[in-house]
C-alpha cells in the first residue's frame, strides 16, 4: 500500500515561502510523517535563522523535521536527495502558468515532476491559514497505474478530511469512432457513447469497491465520464467544479517531443488548474 510517510520539501526564498512551509508542515502532520526541508543554494547564517523562525512560527509541528542545504543544479540535487532520503512524496511550490520560454526549458518544479521516482505534490495556491481540502478530482484512465492512483486519492482524502471525490474517466473521441454529420449519425454516436461511458464507469467503480472499506466509507464518491482530449479535459473539469486537489497518474518517459506536442499530463503541467498530486509508485513495484 502506498504511504506518504517520508516527505521532502524543496524550498526557495520566494514570496510564497511562508505559505509553502506552512502547507508542508500541515501535510506532514496529517500523514503523521517525517519531513525534510531541502534548499539548493548557499547556506548563510541569516537565511538559516530566517527559515528556522518561519518553521517555529507555525502552529502545527510534526514530530520529525530536518533541514538540509546543498549547492548544485537544483533538479539533480533534489532528485538525488529524494533517492537518498527514500522520500515517498515531494512537495513543491509552483507557478500557476509557465510562460513560453520556461515551458519548453522546464521549470524546476516541473522538471522534477517529470523525472522523479516518487509522487509529487505541486502547490499553486498555498496559504498560511488552513484552507480545507474538500473536493478531490482523480483520473480514471484505463492504465495499470490508475488503481494505485485511486487508492492514493482515498488515502489523501481521509488524511485531509476531504468529503468528496470525483472519479473522472476521460474517453478519447477516437474511441467513439462515429462522426456526427446528421441526425442518424448523432443517434448512433449517442448510443456508442452511452455504452462506452457505462463500461468505463463500471470499471472505475469496481476499483473503488475493491478498496478497504475504512478508506471509502466516509467519502462521498461519484464518477463522471468525459469525452474529450485525454489529460486536457480533466484539468478543465477540475477547474469547473472548483476542485481543491487533482490527483493524476504519473507518465513514463516524457521526452522533449512529448512536451512539444502536448498530451496527457503535459496539459495539466502547462496550466495547473489547482493543486496537483502526481502519484508515482515505480519504487514499490
Amino acid at each position: 500500500m502506498l504511504k506518504f510517510k517520508k516527505i521532502l520539501v524543496g524550498f526557495a526564498f520566494s514570496p510564497n515561502l511562508k505559505a509553502n512551509v506552512f502547507e508542508a508542515l500541515r501535510m506532514a502532520s496529517f500523514f503523521n510523517g517525517e519531513l525534510m526541508f531541502f534548499h539548493v543554494g548557499a547556506k548563510t547564517p541569516e537565511k538559516v535563522s530566517r527559515f528556522m523562525e518561519l518553521v517555529k512560527s507555525c502552529p502545527v509541528q510534526p514530530k520529525k523535521i530536518s533541514v538540509r542545504w546543498e549547492i548544485g543544479n537544483p533538479v539533480s540535487v533534489l532528485l538525488k536527495a529524494s533517492e537518498a532520503f527514500k522520500a515517498e512524496l515531494i512537495i513543491l511550490g509552483a507557478l500557476k502558468r509557465e510562460n513560453v520560454v520556461k515551458f519548453y526549458m522546464g521549470s524546476i518544479a516541473r522538471k522534477i515532476t517529470r523525472r522523479s521516482n516518487c509522487s509529487v505534490l505541486l502547490l499553486i495556491n498555498p496559504s498560511v491559514e488552513r484552507h480545507p481540502c474538500q473536493h478531490i478530482v482523480v483520473n480514471g484512465f484505463e492504465s495499470p497505474q490508475t488503481k494505485t492512483t485511486i487508492e492514493a486519492s482515498f488515502i489523501v482524502a481521509n488524511a485531509l478530511g476531504a468529503k468528496k471525490i470525483s472519479l473522472v474517466e476521460e474517453i478519447s473521441r477516437s474511441k467513439v469512432a462515429v462522426s456526427v454529420d446528421d441526425d442518424r449519425s448523432l443517434r448512433r454516436a449517442m448510443l456508442k457513447k452511452e455504452k462506452l461511458s457505462r463500461r468505463e464507469q463500471t470499471r472505475v467503480s469496481d476499483f473503488v469497491k475493491n478498496l478497504p472499506l475504512k478508506l471509502t466509507e466516509k467519502i462521498n464518491w461519484t464518477t463522471q465520464s468525459i469525452f474529450g482530449k485525454r489529460g486536457y479535459s480533466i484539468g478543465h473539469y477540475a477547474k469547473v467544479v472548483r476542485a481543491d486537489l487533482l490527483v493524476m497518474n504519473a507518465e513514463e518517459n516524457l521526452g522533449f517531443f512529448d512536451r512539444l506536442f502536448t498530451h496527457d499530463i503535459e496539459h495539466i503541467l502547462a496550466e495547473l488548474p489547482t493543486d496537483v498530486l502526481i502519484v508515482n509508485n515505480k519504487k514499490s513495484e
Binding site: 446528421d182 461519484t222 474529450g228 469547473v240
Partner: protein, 739 residues
Amino acid sequence: MNKVNSARRFMIDLPKNVFSGFVVSLIALPLGLGLALASEAPPIAGIIAAIAGGIVVSIMGGSHLTITGPGNGLVIVILSAIVGLGNGDLYQGYLFTLAAIIISGVLLFLFGLFRLGGLSEFFPSSALQGMLAAIGVGILAKQFHVMLGFTQVKGNTLRQLALIPESIKNIFLNPSFEFLLASAIGVVSLVFLFLYSRIRNPLFHLIPAPMWVVIGSITVIYYFDIIQNNSQVLNPALMITLPDNLIGSFPSPNFGKMFTSEFMGHTMSITLVAVIESLLSIKAVDKLDPLKRRSNINKDLRALGIATGVSGFFGGLNVVTVIARSSVNVNNGANNRSANFFHAAFLLVFILLFSKQIQLIPLPALAAILVYTGYRLAAPENLLKIYKVGKEQAIIFITTLVATLITSLTTGILLGIIATLIVHVFLNKSSFLFTQNWLKPNVLMYLEEGSGNYYVSVKSFCSFLNFFKLKAKLDEIPPTEHAIVDFSLCEFVDHTVMEGMNDYSQGFSRNGGVFEIIGLDIHEAGTEHPFAIRKSLPEKSFLNFNISLTNRQKLLNELSSVLNWNYLPDPVSSYGDLEHFIYFRRKLINYSYNSLVSENKNSLLFDLSYSEGAFIAKEDLKSTFLQIKAPYQMPIFILDKENLMSSLYGLSGLQDIDFKKHPDFSKRFFLSGEDKKAIRSFFTNDLIFFFESHPLYYIESKGDSILIRGKERLASIQEIKHLLAFAGEFIKLLDTKKS
C-alpha cells in the same frame, strides 16, 4: 416494414414536391439565364448547372430542402476567370474556365471526403458579410448598364460603378425608341421587383417575382412581334441566344492552361466561393426546415462536387446550394430532396419545349433581376445591421468590402481575416491570449451525471479562430436536450461566436430543447446588441439610446392602463412556444415587441416581426397577434378565410372540413386539422354561429393555447380593441361549453 412505410410516405408527399419543384423552376429559369449572362458565359450554361445540380444532388446529397444550381456569389469569380483566362476572347476564356470548374468540382468533392466542411467556420462573420456585399456591388455595377440597354460597358467594378451616371445620361442624350424601350423594360422590372413583396396577394405570389418579370417582358416583345409586326424591336445583342441544337452542341472544356498559376488561382477562388456560398445556404435552409432535420454537410459537399464536375463537362457553371431558390422551395411545401430533382426536370422540359420563347426574353429584364439580387447582397441596411453590433464589426466589413473591390476576392477575404485579427488584438490590448491558446483545446463538454444536462465550458478565448472546436462539441448534443454553455472561464468571445450561439439557441428551441448561455455577465459588451463582442476586460459602453415611444405605442400604453394589463414596448427575442403553431412552421420568427400581458397572464397581445423565405425571395412581415390560453384542452385546428389558396392547400394534404348543415360557414371558412372527428364535435352549432356572425380572423389552436390574427400586418388600436373584444367573447363561449 420501415422501408415500405417510407416509400408510401414518399408517394404521399410526391405531389407537394412536384408542385414545389415547379414553382422553383419558374424562378430558377430567369436566374440561371441571368447569372450565366452576368458571368459572360453562354446563357444555357446556367441552366445546365441547375439541371446537373438538381439531378445529382437530389440523388446523392445530404441535405433535405436545398435547391442547387448556379450561384450569385460565383458570378464575380467566374467572370474574372473567363475574362482573365481568355485574354480578350470570351469564348476561349469560357472553355478554359470550364476546365477550372471541373477541377473545382473535384476539389469540392475532396473537401467533402475529408470532412472539411467545418473549415468554413474559419471566416469571421463580418468579413464574410463584407465579401458578399462586394459580390453584390460587383453584380450591380455591371448589370446596371445592361438593365439600361448598354451591353458594351467594360472595366473593373469600380470603373463600372463610376460609369453609371454616364449611362443614365446617355439614355437622354439620344432617345431612340429602341433604346427607350430597352431601358423602360429594365427599369420597370426593377421597380416591380422592389414592390413585389409589398403586394400581399397569395395568388399573385404563387408565381415568383422573377418569373413575372420574364412573363411581362416576353409579353411586350410578343406585342411588338404580333400586333406591330416588328419582330426585331430590340437590338439582337439585347436578346438571349440559345444554341440551335441543344443536345448536340456541348462545348469541350480546354485543359490547356491547367498548370499555369493563373489557372490555379482562378480555380482556388471558384472553389472557395462555392464552398462558402453552399455552406452558408445549407445552414440557412436548415433553419427553415419544418421537420427540423439536420443536413449532412460533408455528404452534400461531395454531391455538389460531383454535380459541378458533371455540369462543367457539359458546359455548365459551378453548382452550389442557393438560398433564395431553396427558401421558395420550403415555402411551397416541399419536404424532401425530390423537389430539387423536379425543379431540374421542369427546367429540362422548359429548355427543350420553349427554347423559342426563352429567346424572346430581353436582357434588360434579366439584368433588372440581377441588379435587384446585387442590391439585396450589398444593401446599406446590411452595413447598418453590422454597425449596430459594434463599430469594430463595421470596420471589418468595410475593410473586406473595399479590399475585395480593389483587389480580388481571395485577397479581399484574406485581408478581412487579418483586419479581424488586428481588431481582436487591439480590443484585448495584447496578442498573448491568442498566440498562447490558439492551438490548445479549450472546450470541455460532459453529460452531468444526475441532472442529465449537457454542460459545456469554454476556456481562454473563443473567436472565429477556434469556434470550430466549440461547434464540434455542440453538434454532438441532441437539440432536444438541455445544454448549458459556460463562458465564465473565457476572457474573450467574438461576434462570430455570439452569432453562432444564437443559431444553436434557435435550433434547440425549435426542437424542444433548452440552450442556456451562462457566465457572460462578467463580460463587457461594446453595444447593446446580443451579438456584440464580449470580453472580460471592463470598458465603458459609449452608446446610450433613449428610446421615445411612437404615437401607436403611446396609445397602446394608454390601452394597457385602461385594461389594467402590463405593457412592454421593447423587442424581446424569446417568443415562448409560438414556433409550435403551424402558422410559423415555414417562417422564421425574429422578435416580438409591443407586448401587452393580461393580469392573469392568460392573454398576450404582441407585434411580431417574422420572415418568409430568404435573400431575394425574402419577405419581412410584421403583424399583430393575440395568444390566449385555452380554458381546456382543445383539438388542434386552423380556421381561416376560404379562398383559392386554401383549395391549393388541399393539394398539399391539408383538407377543408365542411359542415353540410352550415353551408354558409363551410363556404366562408377554411377549417383543417388532423383529428377530424374531434374538430367536428368541437365545432358545435353555437360556436359556428359565433364565427359566422363575427368578423373573420385567422384562428389556430394548438391544444393548450389559441393564436388569433387579424390582417397580415400590424393592427391599429381600433382593430386591436375589436380583436380583444372578439377574443373575450370567444373565451366566454368556450367557458360555457366547458361547464
